[in-house]
């Protein structure tokens, strides 16, 4: 198998056994970027010299017999929403086109410690707002399976980079499904950890109470190892939870005995495409064959999740994005009459439509006279959604559902219909509102060869359980051969 087709574990083994050097591995992925990215357009910036230099350092450490980090020498692609000291961090926005952070995000620091090597920063929907990566100010990323289709979003660049073998690992962020949905569209594994599992320090905020950083990988084990590298308490993030991080990479191969998988009617109703339905049902059969029990559960408030989310997320976003005013950093207009005009024109010129739309929506939902009816109401419904999950997890270990109603849509297909685009997050959003972990694992292909994912949700801080459950399916099958029609 070519280097770029290998999993993280295989690459680590090859390095351990002296078959491959980190320089060879990094070079292979850089070559693959050169070969594929003019078509896929996942990367916003590539750092070949630095990556190779860092790989050389890892190789030297290996030959010196030094203690190495968990992922030493493995390449990674970073969503351009994480601050990297001295390296441009754009968030896919004209607003931050030239923004060079003076500090590293906590996740970036942790990655450096693990020895992982950044290949560069990848594309995303502007400020992580979107489900297609079409909202990037810089380029349109294609789905590696068919570049006329969207890679999903907002972590579309991260998913496409891994899906196209341009990186074995990538970092994404997930506010309403932004890791899981593109993972599903691009046929890769993506995990949104429990809120607070990974520090948000240095993650450019979209919606603070929903955002989480998570791993994306070409296999479950790679994702597990990557989460292990980035998870853990950070005193600079007040919402980071101080609870021990288990060794996901050690336990991922252990199947779960007597696994009880919850299935909610609410996830299989109207709107779910046939191919996805079939694929998900097939995957449940795979679990049954391994002794898992499928249990019916109910999540009665899940149908309100999209509505609650599209009030809470834009409200927080309207506030989080207020800082982009052309004073302390970021874009400033050249044409203005006075200070207020300078603010408004800078923001009007540098933000894209979707960002503007959400800022407007959030500003409205928080404004005097509407706060109780919109924002506060949504927060109350949010608690009911969480309570549904708490009750369900008294009966089952994980909850299985589709990630999306259908495989990757075509680029441009939904871009004029914001509401339809919002509704495409219907299966993923609840986990963000409830703060729960969720994983997307590829389980099949559509008739026109587009990947389909399965979502598994778990109780808070049970990422370990989700990796193991996802691995049970992965080990048992070759999903690329499971074509539904």
């Amino acid at each position: 198998m070519s280097i770029v087709g290998k999993t993280t574990g295989e690459l680590l083994d090859s390095m351990n056994q002296g078959e491959l050097s980190s320089v060879e591995i990094v070079q292979a992925f850089l070559d693959e970027i050169g070969r594929r990215d003019n078509e896929v357009n996942a990367f916003l910036s590539v750092r070949p010299e630095k990556a190779l230099e860092e790989a050389k350092e890892v190789d030297q450490k290996i030959s010196a017999g030094e203690q190495l980090g968990l992922l030493a020498g493995i390449p990674i692609a970073l969503k351009d929403v994480l601050c990297t000291e001295g390296e441009t961090t754009t968030c896919g926005s004209k607003m931050l086109e030239n923004f060079v952070p003076p500090y590293d995000a906590h996740v970036v620091q942790r990655l450096k410690k693990s020895g992982v090597i950044s290949l560069g920063k990848v594309n995303m929907d502007e400020f992580a707002m979107g489900s297609s990566t079409e909202n990037s100010a810089f380029k349109t990323t294609g789905n590696p399976w068919n570049v006329e289709h969207a890679p999903g979003g907002s972590s579309g660049g991260s998913a496409a980079a891994v899906g196209a073998n341009m990186a074995p690992l990538s970092i994404g962020t997930d506010t309403g499904g932004s890791i899981r949905q593109p993972a599903s569209f691009c046929g890769v594994v993506g995990m949104k950890p429990t809120y607070g599992r990974v520090s948000r320090y240095g993650l450019v905020a979209f919606a603070s109470s929903l955002d989480q950083v998570g791993p994306m990988a070409n296999d479950v084990s790679g994702a597990a190892t990557l989460l292990e590298a980035i998870a853990g308490h950070d005193h600079r993030d007040s919402t980071s939870i101080n609870c021990p991080v288990p060794s996901y990479s050690d336990s991922v191969d252990k199947p779960l005995e007597g696994l009880k998988i919850g299935v909610a009617d609410e996830h299989f109703g109207e709107g779910l495409g046939d191919e996805v339905r079939k694929s998900v049902e097939n995957s449940l059969d795979v679990y049954r064959s391994q002794g898992a029990k499928i249990v019916n559960i109910s999540l009665p408030h899940s149908k309100y999740a999209v509505a609650a989310y599209y009030l809470i997320a834009p409200s927080e976003a309207s506030s989080n994005l207020a800082r982009y005013d052309g004073v302390h950093y970021g874009y400033r207009t050249e044409n203005f009459d006075n200070m207020i005009d300078m603010y408004a024109a800078s923001r009007g010129e540098a933000f894209g439509d979707e960002v503007k739309r959400r800022i407007m929506l959030g500003t409205y939902a928080l404004s005097s006279g509407y706060y109780d009816a919109y924002y506060l109401k949504a927060l109350k419904v949010r608690r009911l959604i969480r309570q549904d999950f708490d009750q369900a997890f008294e009966k089952v270990d994980v909850i299985a559902s589709p990630v999306t109603a259908s495989p990757a849509f075509k680029i441009g297909e939904l871009s004029d219909d914001p509401l339809a685009m919002y509704l495409s997050d219907i299966y993923t959003i609840s986990a963000n509102l409830a703060g729960l972990p969720g994983i997307s694992v590829p389980v099949g292909l559509s008739g026109n060869d587009l990947p389909i994912g399965l979502q598994l949700l778990g109780p808070a801080f049970e990422e370990d359980r989700l990796f193991r459950a996802a691995r049970m399916f992965e080990k048992e099958t070759d999903w690329k051969t499971l074509k539904v029609s």
Binding site: A105, R200, A207, T239, S319, D325, Y329, L366, S368
Partner: protein, 504 residues
């Protein structure tokens, strides 16, 4: 027709923490070196997050307890959103519906009358940076310095309970005293660590007895005690004129915000906001709530120690001080009162100690612009070397003050304190000798001088005058004696002269 001034104050107090409220940048007044005390958090760089300073919350709780507020068991932080260049996040982290403390009061006394001023709430929030406007009038760019941005502030909102400018000033002074006593703030108004906005209106009683409230005006940026007083007085007069002219009542017009021009001594109208304020408060998702247990609240109460009002009462009781002296001493701040108590205990005479402190010591402090901490004479030195010598009739009170003045002159030249009490005492001894101030109680020597003075030809008229009932005539005679014997005790000299004249 008559009117009553109604005033409520909103006071912002910067807390004396080492670091800012949400980041580890140093909390220091540093206007001359802009933008050197900032980090990704307080400049609102994308991705940065706030974490609450434990000490700031703790000082805020102390503040609340000192102003008799109840501490909430659950409190949270909200974002107050508005755009201004000195506020880089475009929201201020503050507290909206669940402040950490509410319902307090502060007792003040004005013209001998006790007044209880209600406090609605005190909440914790962050300060903004500073904008500096181009004052050339050419419309140049404004400059922004974020050194101050993120400094912890407690905002204390009073009830509209003050009925005069003097009461407002007294409330603010008492508040400052209290907060400096408990070490939560230096309350330096010049440096902006204590800032004040006043809500002012009038309650008018018409000739037919009808009571009418006039529209409330908020006067901002009052940065001196005198300014508070003058601005409120000006504002009351102005509002009275307007009421007589227009008859406008509260609710007829929107609340007006005015600035205070200290140079012209006038308030001035500020431009209305382009859009009506809509701060869109909502709970800050980056910060988590704080809960406080009953034990923690009690611990704060226990940590406060004696507050100024209690200390005044105790001084009156324990040292037989007048209300006035107790008030003067306590109002100088905690360190000064500690110095006072130490002097009073060492010399065993609280009244003498008070006289020395409120007169000599305070005068020197003011003249030399030094604090009691920098005062060159220790409390022990003052008591044992000076006050006790007077008590023991080793020197006269007048001499003691002369020596004190000399000691202060020494200090002025050398700028060195008298740290060592023994060396200090020797210096005092030396000065007594040098200046010839040892009290002469040896009546033999004194008698000789008195006799010589009384025998002088030129003094015979004075002697006759005194005999004729002119008490003052003795003064001139005393002066001549004292001139010859510097350490003579005036009382003794006086007594001796009178006895001798009467026996003539």
């Amino acid at each position: 027709m008559d009117y009553q001034i109604i005033v409520g104050l909103e006071v912002h107090v910067q807390l004396q923490t080492k670091t800012k409220l949400f980041c580890g940048c140093v909390n220091l007044f540093n206007p001359d070196n802009p933008n050197v005390q900032t980090c990704p958090v307080c400049t609102a760089m994308p991705g940065s997050l706030p974490v609450m300073n434990r000490e700031a919350f703790s000082l805020a709780m102390k503040t609340a307890v000192a102003i008799n507020c109840g501490i909430a068991s659950f409190t949270k932080w909200d974002r107050k959103q508005y755009y201004y260049p000195d506020l880089p996040k475009a929201y201020q982290i503050s507290q909206f519906d669940l402040p950490f403390s509410e319902n307090g009061f502060l007792d003040i006394e004005v013209d001998g009358e006790q007044r209880k001023i209600g406090i609605i709430r005190a909440h914790l929030e962050e300060d903004a940076g500073k904008n500096m406007h181009d004052e050339s009038g050419k419309g140049g760019d404004s400059k922004v310095d974020l050194n101050r941005c993120g400094t912890p502030l407690v905002e204390i909102v009073s009830e509209p309970d003050m009925r005069s400018a003097a009461e407002a000033k007294e409330y603010l002074e008492e508040l400052k005293l209290l907060l400096t006593y408990i070490d939560v703030s230096d309350c330096n108004m010049q440096e902006g660590s204590l800032r004040c906005d006043a809500n002012v209106n009038l309650h008018v009683t018409n000739d037919d007895g009808e009571k009418i409230a006039t529209p409330i005006v908020e006067v901002k940026n009052l940065n001196s005690f005198r300014g508070v007083e003058l601005a409120i007085e000006y504002e009351a007069d102005r509002q009275w004129d307007i009421y007589q002219e227009t008859g406008l009542k509260i609710g007829d017009v929107a609340k007006e915000t005015r600035g205070w021009d200290a140079t012209r001594g006038k308030t001035f109208g500020q431009r209305g906001k382009e859009d009506a304020a809509d701060y869109r408060y909502f709970p800050d998702p980056d910060l988590v709530p704080v809960t406080v247990t009953e034990e923690e609240k009690q611990a704060v109460r226990d940590s406060l120690g004696e507050l100024p009002a209690a200390r005044r009462s105790r001084f009156i009781e324990e040292y037989s001080l007048s209300k006035y002296d107790a008030s003067v001493i306590v109002s100088q701040g905690n360190s000064f009162t500690l110095y006072y108590e130490s002097v009073a205990k060492s010399c065993g005479d609280g009244k003498q100690a008070a006289n020395w402190l409120t007169q000599e010591v305070l005068r020197e402090m003011n003249e030399r612009k030094i604090s009691i901490e920098d005062f060159p004479i220790t409390s022990d030195g003052l008591a044992t070397s000076l006050i006790n010598r007077v008590r023991d009739k080793k020197i006269s009170i007048k001499s003691a003050k002369e020596i004190f003045a000399r000691l202060m002159e020494d200090f002025g030249e050398s700028n060195e304190s008298y740290g060592d009490n023994k060396a200090f005492d020797q210096r005092v001894e030396q000065l007594i000798e040098e200046m010839g101030l040892a009290l002469v109680s040896d009546t033999g020597e004194l008698e000789g001088v008195v006799d010589a003075v009384l025998a002088k030809e030129q003094n015979q008229k004075a002697i006759e005058d005194f005999k004729g009932g002119k008490q003052a005539a003795v003064g001139a005679l005393m002066g001549q004696v004292m001139k010859q014997i510097k350490g003579a005790d005036a009382q003794t000299v006086r007594k001796m002269i009178i006895e001798k004249i009467q026996n003539m």
